[in-house]
């Protein structure tokens, strides 16, 4: 495994938690983002993720570096899966270790916010009656404009 990677196989979150653990660590936070069956009353059948892989891995590593600079003593590993994912599959895992718990929580939440801002990964939701790239305005007109 790499500390910051895009993978196409199922994610084993424990590997990333193990990777960040060190004798100085008193706390490890492990976040996993899962495919949810229902979103705003619409049932998802499955998701398809796509990434600009080399840039996405670079941006994940950048987030790790930002965190290690902001929260002293933290260590970070992040993986995002691409391809077709079923309900409850893990799409993303973020592991952060830290001497004290507060940083481990804050840094972990920071990581997922940054992923949603800068990492070139795209999610397509597939429902019973259609599909859509999430975040792409073209296929998702704002309700107030209809």
């Amino acid at each position: 495994m790499k500390a910051f990677e895009i993978v196409s196989e199922p994610i084993n979150p424990q590997r990333y938690a193990d990777y960040v653990l060190r004798p100085e660590a008193g706390a490890v936070t492990l976040f996993t983002g899962h495919v949810r069956e229902w979103t705003k009353g619409i049932r998802t059948l499955y998701l398809a993720y796509e990434a600009y892989i080399p840039m996405a891995e670079k941006k994940l590593a950048q987030i790790g570096q930002e965190i290690e600079e902001k929260w002293e003593g933290t260590r970070v590993a992040i993986a995002h899966r691409i391809g077709e994912l079923a309900i409850s599959d893990i799409a993303v895992v973020i592991a952060v270790s830290s001497p004290h718990r507060k940083s481990a929580y804050e840094a972990n939440e920071y990581a997922i916010e940054r992923i949603k801002e800068i990492v070139p990964i795209w999610k397509k939701e597939i429902w019973e009656d259609g599909e859509e790239w999430i975040g792409h305005q073209k296929k998702k007109p704002k309700e107030e404009l209809l």
Binding site: E50, Y52, M55, K116, P120, W122, K123, H136, K138
Partner: protein, 77 residues
């Protein structure tokens, strides 16, 4: 020559994932004008352009061999 990549919804707009074009020496802004002239529907959403795997500014100049990518709003996580 510049290599262009289109991802996700933008790839569905252009109908291609990748093409190579002669835009060496042009700016990122000129690349955007070129692309939206060729694919008008590109303009429908917010798009960022990355050059060599880093987000680029409109005034950045494209060098021979650069790889430019059209990045629609990301939705990882």
């Amino acid at each position: 020559m510049i290599e262009l990549h289109y991802f996700a919804g933008l790839r569905e707009v252009t109908g291609i994932a990748q093409e190579t074009v002669d835009l060496t020496g042009r700016t990122v802004e000129e690349l955007w004008q070129w692309a939206t002239a060729k694919y008008p529907d590109l303009q429908s959403g917010s798009v960022r352009i990355a050059v060599n795997e880093e987000y680029a500014l409109p005034a950045d100049v494209l060098n021979d061999g650069d790889v430019a990518a059209f990045i629609p709003p990301v939705s990882g996580g």
